[in-house]
Each structure stands twice: as C-alpha cells, then as structure tokens.
Symmetry: C2
Subunit: 711 residues, 2 copies
C-alpha cells in the first residue's frame, strides 16, 4: 500500500497569495474566462495573473505568455488549457517553482484510453516537480476565509461564508449543491472538487479540513475512496477532536448498476458497497442516501448544538402534522420525551382548557407567538427533552414572523437543538426566511426533521462510545502459521493445514489428530475422547461423503478402527490412485447456534472480516456484516450486534443467551490473522457452533485459500 506523507503542505492550493491562471481567456463564453473573472472579482486578497499566449490583458489585468514570465513568485497555477497542452504547462509550472496546481481541464482518464495516457504524463510531472496537484477534470477550489476569499472555480457565485467544508468528486454536483445551499442559506468555509485525483486525494483534503478552525462540519461526496484504512483513521481522528467535527458522506455507486456508471464516469474501480458500508461504520462517518439528506443534515449539524440523547418534544398548533412528526420520530428510532409533572403543570397555564397537555404538545389552532414562546420555554427547560421540534401551520391567529422570533429566542436560551417546520409554502415564507437567517434549520415537512435529529443522535452515540483498542493476542504461534503458509501451494489448504493455521491463532477447534493406521486412529480417538468423526485426508478427494470418506458418531475404539478399515476399502475402490495423507480424527461437535466467520480480500482495500448467522434463513436474508481488518474490540462486538438476527444470540423463546464473548474473541483473532498473513485470500469458518454464555464456541468446519500476497 502506497501512502503519502500525511502532512504535505497544501497551503499553496488552499490559501495562495499569488495565482497564475494558465489558459485565461478574453472570451466571456469560455471557462478560462470565467475562472479568471471569478478569482479577480470574488474578492481575492492576493494577486492573480492571467497567462495566455496571445492576449495582452484580460479583464484589464496584464497577461503573460507563460507562467515563466510572471514577475512574482507564483504559489498556485490554475490550468484550463486543452488537455494535450497540460503536460507542457506543468513543466513550465515546475520550472517556475509553483507549489500548487489545480487542473480544471478535462480530457484525461474520464474519456478512455488516450486520456488515461495523458493522465500518466500528468503523474510523471507531479513526480518530477513535487508540486501538489488537484484534478485534472475538476471544478476547482473555494476558500471563503476573509483573508483569502478565493473562488478558483467556474461556479458563478462564491457561496456564503459559513462553517461547512465540502469535498466532492463531481464538479456538476458541486455547482448544483452550492446553488441549492444558497436557497437554504447554508454557508461554506472551503469547497474542494477532487476531479480525477491524479495526486491530491480526499485524504489530504480531509486533513486540511480537520485542521481548519473555520470548518465545523465536513461534507463528502465520493464515487470511490482511494485508501480505505487511511480514510478510517483520518475520519476517526476528526471525530475524536474536541469539539468533534461530524463527517457526512454521500457515496454514489451504491448499487451494481450505479457502480458501473461510476466506472464509465471517472474511470475508477468502485469497491463493493458492503465494504464501503464497513469503512463508513469503522470511520464513524454518517452516510446519507441523497443530496437532500446531505444538506438537511448539514443545515442542522452546522448551526445547532448536538442533542444529549434521542428524546424529542414536539410543539405544534395542529394535530395532523403533530401525528406525522410523531410517526416519523418513532420510525427513525427517536423517543418522545415524557414531560415531567412540573412541565405539564406549567403547560396547563399556557394552553387553553380544552387542549390536551402532553407530547406531542398541540397548543391548538388559535395559538399566537406568545403561546409558542411560553410553551417552548416550558418544554425546552424539561430535563427529559434532548431536542425540540416546532411545527407551525398557518392559521388566522398567527403571525409567522413573530412565531419565528419566538422559536429563535427559545432555541437560543435553551442551548438545545431546535428544528422547525412551518408547514405550507407561500404563506409561511417570511417566517422561514427569518428562521434560516437566525440559524434555525427549517424543513418543509416534519419527516426530514426526524431523520436529521436521528442522525444527530447517532453521531452523539458514536462520539460518546467507549473507546477500545486493537487487541493483540500474544499466545498466537506466528512462526507455525507462517510455516504452514510458506509450505502451501496457492489454492485451498489441506484440511489439516487449515486446522493447523486456525490452531496457531488459538481459534476454538474441536480436538483433532491425524492417523495413518486403524490402530493409530483408535488410539487418537481415545486420547481425544469419544465419540469422534473420521474424515479422509487427500488433496484429490473433494466430495468425501460420496466415496465413504466421512464417518460420524463413532462411539468406541473398535468402531473407530473398523470405520477406518472400511473407509480405506471404499476409498481404494473409488479413487485407486489418490494420494492419501491419512485420516482426520476429530471430536464430534455438540450442536449450538450456527454462525459464520470469515476473511475475504477486497481488491481495493485488502483483508475484510465477515460475520453472519448461519442457517437457511440467513442465506435468504443475506444478513451478514463486514469490517476492514484490523478491527477493534468494540468493532468486533458491533459486528455481532448489528446483524438483524442478532437477537437470536441474545436468547429467544426462553433460551439462555449465547456466548457472545467467544464470538468476539474469534473475530479479533481472525483480525490478527488477516493482518499477519496477507496470503490468506479467503477463510471461512462455517459454521462456528456457539454455546450458552460461558460455554464458548467450536469451529465445526473451516476452509482456507492461499494466494500470493497482493502488491
């Protein structure tokens, strides 16, 4: 795995003082004009120079034929020349001592083979000159900090300054999102568009945003991640900062068809979505499903305090929307606060006699802003309330602007997150505008509020989770494991080698031994403890049962010896030429709940751990979960808990709970194995029998495939 030095200096890209726009144009219809114009008129606090082979000046600013002619030292070059000219331009940038480059031009990897070659030339220049390069094929960079004010994009308007850092892989989507955010009065600190990621990736820019005091929330739109493990570490560090910075991710290409579209779009190889799901879970980032959700969440995370928990109070002046909000909150896993007797008493003085006092609190149709004010004051003061939801429908008696002011006042005084929906549209516009200007997130309907508050509550439970480390078991016999792997051909390990490998990591195997005669088999069986099973060991015999190569429930030494002899006769008959490595003598497994553990190898991200419940239902439900290895202790526990069928292991129908600790330990041992032995391309324990709590687990069957380690 190739890793970049983590703290490369990206100042030239993020806060340049002198910029050359190479390919700047006098023609207002051209991108080369738009970019230069946007930097020049966007309030940039440094100096910007146009570079154009023929123009004398652009927008009144003296132009140069080459970056080499610019008299001042240039920090940042923004390149908009035709793709074929880019490698030459980059050489000039290198010679001019430029430290940062943004290549806006398209025509590279995204257009096929020829473009791919051109991008290789770009990579060569990056290696040669050592500058940091964003793009090619990107929208550019925006920094709204007052001492920078850089809009090096062709988006028409610099967005409002705010505390959101936005990192995106799609230029069109970035432009559209900025436009949309403007209608929601959402402001940005920095906007980075990644393009083809020939050099700078989301990881370095995440580091920039992590360190940026102006950025409080990070939004990420990605089609693929460059490095899964580093992404996990980087994102976790961001969430462990104080105060933590939430990272919200929209990952496109979730479905197989979507991923195909990604491939033809940016030419990147998208990993399987389940692996991405694992990465996001391990990284503690919040995955969203749509652009709408991204900004719904961003609007609240960036402007409201985090809730302490998931208990919500709803204040409304109409029953219907109150019920819809309640439904939506419950469905999203929130709870309705049980208001205290004191709060209920206070509320009885606020609402008319006929109104029912409770949660949701319907302060009824004739409520005015003073009733909202008093109701919110009482409700938000209640310690059982972690967050407030305010619904206002347009009624004859209400002044929506005054109602907005009451919401703003009470939200600020409470220190708790308050989200609002003024239901309707034209009739509530002025109130909505007032809310949004004051930083109270507004949603046209209550369902989006519930989703957003639930995301905030999930995030809080993530940042407050117990912190666990990577467990390293020192009872592992690594030399033995390495020896088994070194001695193996690529392909499936023999059964005894596979058991040996698992045994060296102290996975809970049933007692086993290899025997090569009937009397040895009987002896081994007595040592192991009866009853036992016998299985033929031969690389040539795959379907053992069909040729009499498996005998189960052998209860006495004599039965074992007889079974051995009978097995040999049967094998010789069916496979006269098979090489026999003897017979596996193994204790019979007591039945328990069946679970599946495994290691697989993702082409992009390396070893991946798998957990799922076994049996026929799970095969249909595909209820399995993944994590990149290594996994922390809590991560292993979460793998077990997050499957839909996990409740079975907690004990149903009066059964005792299963030994979850034993499963967690097995997962952690497999995690260590996966990291130590990258040659293990595939490992399946199917099933692991899990017994009642304290009684452990037993590997009933295992399969290991070895491949040359990648890279």
């Amino acid at each position: 795995m190739q890793t970049m030095p983590k703290s490369r200096d990206l100042t030239a890209v993020v806060r340049p003082s002198t910029i050359a726009v190479i390919g700047a144009s006098r023609d207002p219809a051209k991108v080369g004009h738009a970019i230069f114009h946007n930097i020049l008129t966007g309030g940039f606090q440094g100096a910007v120079h146009p570079v154009n082979p023929t123009a004398r000046a652009i927008s009144g600013v003296r132009a140069y034929r080459s970056v080499l002619e610019v008299p001042d030292p240039v920090d940042l070059a923004v390149v908009i020349t035709p793709a074929a000219l880019v490698p030459g331009v980059l050489d000039e940038c290198g010679q001019a001592g430029v430290r940062g480059v943004i290549v806006i031009s398209g025509g590279f990897r995204e257009v096929g083979e020829e473009g791919r070659k051109r991008e290789d030339l770009v990579r060569e220049r990056i290696a040669r000159w050592g500058f940091a390069l964003i793009g090619p094929n990107c929208l550019g960079v925006i920094n709204t900090a007052p001492d920078v004010r850089l809009n090096a994009t062709f988006a028409a308007q610099i967005p409002a300054a705010g505390n959101i850092g936005f990192l995106s892989q799609s230029g069109a989507l970035t432009a559209a999102a900025l436009d949309y955010a403007r209608t929601k009065r959402i402001g940005f600190s920095k906007v980075f568009n990644l393009g083809n990621k020939a050099d700078v990736t989301e990881l370095e820019l995440l580091d920039v945003l992590a360190a940026d005091p102006d950025t409080h929330v990070i939004l990420l739109y990605v089609e693929e991640l460059s490095e899964g493990r580093r992404f996990i570490e980087t994102a976790r560090e961001i969430s462990e900062q104080s105060p933590p910075k939430p990272v919200l991710v929209l990952k496109a290409g979730r479905t197989a068809d979507g991923a195909r579209a990604v491939s033809s779009h940016t030419g990147s190889l998208a990993g399987s979505d389940q692996v991405y799901e694992a990465i996001f879970a391990q990284a503690g980032v919040l995955r969203v499903e749509s652009i709408e959700e991204l900004f719904d969440y961003a609007g609240a995370f960036s402007r409201q305090p985090l809730p302490k928990g998931r208990r919500v109070a709803i204040v409304t002046n109409a029953g219907g929307p109150g019920i819809l909000a309640t439904d939506a909150c419950i469905r999203q896993g929130l709870e309705l606060s049980k208001l205290s007797t004191a709060t209920l008493g206070a509320l009885r003085g606020v609402v008319p006699g006929e109104a029912h006092v409770g949660n949701p609190l319907d302060i009824i149709g004739d409520a005015d802003d003073r009733r909202y004010d008093a109701a919110l004051e009482a409700v938000l003061a209640d310690p059982s309330v972690d967050a407030g939801v305010v619904l206002v429908t347009r009624q004859a008696t209400i002044d929506v602007e005054a109602a907005a002011d009451a919401v703003i006042r009470r939200a600020r005084a409470s220190g708790k997150p308050v989200l609002a929906s003024f239901v309707g549209a034209l009739a509530v516009e002025s109130g909505v505008a007032r809310l949004e200007e004051a930083g109270i997130p507004h949603y046209p309907f209550p369902e989006a509020i519930a989703r957003t508050l639930a995301a905030m509550a999930r995030y809080v439970s993530w940042i407050e989770r117990p912190r666990t480390g990577y467990h390293t078991f020192d009872d592992v016999d690594l030399p033995r494991a390495r020896k088994i792997i070194a001695g193996a051909e690529p392909g499936f390990l023999s059964e005894s080698a596979a058991l040996g490998l698992l045994e060296s990591y102290r996975l809970p195997l049933l007692p086993w031994a290899v025997a090569t005669t009937a009397s040895e088999a009987a002896e081994r069986a007595l040592a192991i403890g009866l009853p036992v099973a016998l299985k033929i060991l031969s690389p040539q015999i795959i379907h053992k049962v069909d040729v009499g190569g498996v005998r189960l429930h052998l209860g006495t030494a004599a039965e074992v010896a007889a079974a051995y002899e009978a097995m040999m006769v049967s094998i010789r008959k069916h496979h006269p030429d098979a090489a026999l490595d003897g017979v596996l003598v193994q204790a019979m497994a007591r039945k328990g709940h069946e679970v599946i553990l495994g290691i697989s190898h993702d082409a992009q991200f390396g070893p991946v751990l798998m957990f799922g419940l076994g049996g026929i239902y799970v095969e249909v439900l595909k209820d399995v979960t993944f994590r990149l290895a290594p996994v922390r202790e809590l991560g292993a526990r979460r793998m077990v808990e997050e499957t839909r069928t996990a409740a079975i292991l907690q004990g149903v129908r009066g059964e005792p709970p299963s030994d979850l600790e034993a499963i967690v330990e097995c997962l952690l041992r497999l995690s260590q194995l996966a990291v130590d032995c990258p040659e293990v391309a595939e490992l399946d324990i199917n099933p692991l029998f899990v017994y009642a709590a304290g009684q452990g687990a037993a590997v009933a069957d295992a399969r290991v495939r070895i491949a040359p380690p990648p890279g």
Copy 2:
C-alpha cells in the same frame, strides 16, 4: 356493522346552487367572515346568503336572522356558530328543507366529554332530518369545476383547478397542503375536509370522487378509516374503472405513539397499523410515508401517462447526478433499460466522440438543448424504455429554458412518462417553472424521481394483476362447524373440538382419533397408521408435557397401549381430580418447513388473516403479513409471497420448492371459516408443516378461542 346506503345523493354538498352561511360575520378577523367572503368572492356560480342574528348585510349582501327566513330554497348550509348553538341551528336547517350541511365549528368530540355529548346531539339531528353533514370541526369543501367554483373553506385562496381530488381528515394539514401545492403548480378538482365524521365519511366522498369526471387522481389523508371492508371494496372499484384512478393514501398514526396522538386529537380509536397495511394492500391504494411523497407522486400521476413497466432511461449532462439517479432507481426496484443497438447507434451521432453511450446516458457537460432534444428523441423511442428521467445541471453551455422546452416536446411526442430534475436551485428556476407549467413533474433531486416512478410502476402492476374472486369451498361441513361452536363455552376450544372445527373446513389434519381405553388407543393407532403420538385430553391440564401427558413416536400397538397405561398413572398422580376426556391419538407429522397461519379479530375491522414463516428466526424478524377476511385467491398468494423469508419456500440450497398451493388453499379455507364463524376470536395453526410441491401440508398443532360474536 352499520352500512350507509352507498349512493346517497351528496349533490347539495358538492355542487350546491343556493348556500346559507350560518354564523357569517361582519368582523374580518372571524372565520364566519372569511368563509362567507371566500364563497362570495371565489367565483361561486350560485347564490350565497349570510345568516346572522343581528347584521343587516355582510359584504354588501342582505343578511337573514335565520335560515328559515332565506326566501329561496337552500341546498347547503355552512355552519360556523359556537358549538353550543349548532344543534338548534341544525333543527332550523331541517325545517328549512336544507339537504346538505357543512359544520365548520369546533368544540365537539375533539375536546373531550362535553364535546362528545354535543356531537351526540348533532348525530340526533342528522337522524331526525336526514340531511348529509360534513364535519363538525372541519375546514370545509372546495369544488373548482367552472360551473360551481365553490370555496366553502377559510383557506385564503381557492386552489388552481386541476384533476386531483383531495380528501383529508386534518384541516390544518389541508390548508398547508393547498399552499404547498400552489408552489408546485398542482391543481385540484375537489377538496373535502372530513373533520370529526359525525355523518359523511371518506367512503361516501370516495364514491363522489370516483364518479367525478374532473378527478383523475385521489389523495387521501386519514388518521383512521371508518370501515375497512367497505374501504377495500370502494377503492378496488375505483382502480378497476377505465381509466383507473390512482388512490394515494397518507395514514397518520403509524406508530403506537403516533396513534396515541391521534386518539387525543380527533378522539378516534386507531386500528393497529399492520391491519391498515393489510387494508391498503387489499384496496390497491398506494400508501405514502410523508406529505412530500404524497405530492411528489400526485404531481406525476396527475400529469403524466402511466409507464408500461419498470424500465427507465436516464439522460444527464453530468456524471455524479446520473450515478445518484441510477442508485436511487435500482434501490426502488426499477430497472435500467438495455438500449437497443439501433438506439445506441443513433446516440453515437448525437453525443461527442469521447462520451460513453449507454444508460445512464451522459451527454456531457457541454450539451445544449438540441443535444437533449436529439438524445431524448432516440432514447424515448426505444421500446425497452418505459419511462424517462432527465437530469440537467447548470453548465455554461446550457439555456435551461430551452432545455425545458426540449424535455416538454420530447415527453409529449413519446407518450411515455418523463420526470425531470434540474439540479440546483436559483440557477435553474426559470427552466423549472416552464416544466411545471407544461405538466412535466420536476423534483429538486433524482431520488424523488425514482421513488415516484417506482410508485407508478407498482400501480401499473396492480391494475394489470390477474383478477381472482373469492373462492367458496363447497366441501365444507358448515353444520358440523356451527355445532362445535354452539356447543362451546367462551374460551379455548378443547383439542378435539379445535381439530373438529378445522376438519369441517377440510384443513389438512394428520389422521386423529379419540380413545378412552388402552386397547381402543392401540386399535385407533393401527387404523391411523403407526407411528403415532398420544396426548391427554383434559380441560384442566394445560402443561401436558410436564405431567407425562404427551408420548411421541409410538411405533407398535403394544407400545401405544403401554404408553396409554403409563400416561394414566402419571396423570392420576399429578392431577387426581382432573376431568379426562380421553386421549388424542394422532399420526406423527413428518417434518417440513414450518409456517404459521391464523385468524385474529380486530376490534375495529373484524376478522383478520395472518401468515408467517415459523421457527426461531421469524420470531425475531416478526416477518408476518395480514389481510382482512375474506381474502381472494391472489390475495392469499400475495400473503405468502410478500414475506421477506418467502424465498425459503421457493427452495434454497438446492432444496425442492415447497407446496405453495397447499398453503394458499389453507389460507382460503381459513378465510371462509373466519367469515362463516365470527365467534372464532382467535385461531392459530402453529406450525403447519409444508412439504415439497405436490406433497401438501399438515397441521401439526392448532388452538382456537371462541368469543361471543361482536356487534
């Protein structure tokens, strides 16, 4: 069950020619003023008279002290007097020969005990005078038909005329929804607000909308339904009209907390949500989750043709949104069309050389409206395309209004549904306005398009479903069933009576008999076929196994006799005083897949059928499905198919498929039983063993509870 005559004449309410507004007011701050004013100035084509005890005229129109003084015959009275005066006003209406009444006034059932009494007085007047009454506690009625133009509500503006009928139980929500719809340029034919439903319910108004040629789509917001079975029949008829009218339902109170909020809101008792889910499935209505979805769907259903299937083509000028749209379509169960070679060839002439030609079709960033036009022409002509999705991001080269015109032109020419998202907000406004005016539904982001198209495709598959009837099995022994029930005390039936009841409906029982001596048991066992099980029959012995009252796998007549004797000894020891009804001799069931069938009784809607897979996983997953009885043949089949674990019955791991026909027949027989025998309050077949296709099923255990029939 009290049923209204189905075709009561509601003309007086829906298209009155003379209206009296009782409680009309001169004070512009009062609802009594707003309503009169809205009717008067809303373009009403008939005559409206204010009724007020003191005013001479209101808004320039001669007022009367009582409806009895109005010189013309009054069709419709709109009542806004204080609640206490309403019963008296209704008597006057009755004397004046009024045929329709809308009671806007609140202060009835929704405010508690006193209001409930007042509502009872209202009901008395309805019964006495025989008029049709909407409300009380409602927003009123709107009819935009040019020959009516009635806005008998206090909503400020009459909505645009259109083809959507909107029937709602919440006044505030109706007002907000009308306001929201205006921003989306969505028009209405009729708007009815139900209020407390003291007389007219959603059923009668559904009939009105069904018969209304101006209404093409029906939207329903309900907190509870009055009559489940009639709702099913009414909604099905609407969907069987030609052309069919889609019915979209938003049901609030989905969660238990939400339902509690409903109860305190309108005072109605909400049925369990799973029963509502069943009703909506049987009725063929589309259930939505939010107000946003309701109008997202309505915008498309009301203005676009239905798709022939679920195959979608996506045309975009930017990769990112194209991928998000693809993801969303796949997630919603749509498919991406495989464009024909001819279409792909045509497209190669449309898009620049470097663009990839496929679906999603990215016509890339420099596309103009002509490229959209040509691409849409080719794509929509492809027979593999059932619906088009057009995404436009704001780019330098595109004129969004011209692009909108291209979309409108090509959508109309194709006769296929086309939905658009012009991604962004401010920058695309003018294009969006043009689309919406032309009836192309626009969504800010592609996810809502996918959801909407999926709903349209689901609706199409519903209207094109094979039509099946109610199957009546004539081999049922109804007299025997009635006799068993007549002879039973309320409570659980004895095991033999329960088996007898199931046997009279020819459910697939294992051979069984009752024996009262050891030799009789042996004899019966031989007749049934060995092996058998014995179970003690006694109303006093519940936990049979604990007292030795169950013996399984008895393989010979001698074993049966011995087991009988042993059982009697054991029972006498544990329960010396128990009354014994003998012993049940039953064939041992061969194991199969375990499923659960049942009947339960919903307090509001009557008998409900249940189906689910048995076993430990399903207990955790709660993967069961319901239908109101009676169920049609296709409905029974759908019950089996729609469980998440149904795939297990289709055969996994190389197993043969199970006998689905046998399950369907059992469900249909239970359905008949549920309707014939309303005394069956609860019936559980758990498990039914299902064998391989053609091999049937067997009831392994059953339990029946009898209660006096409701009503």
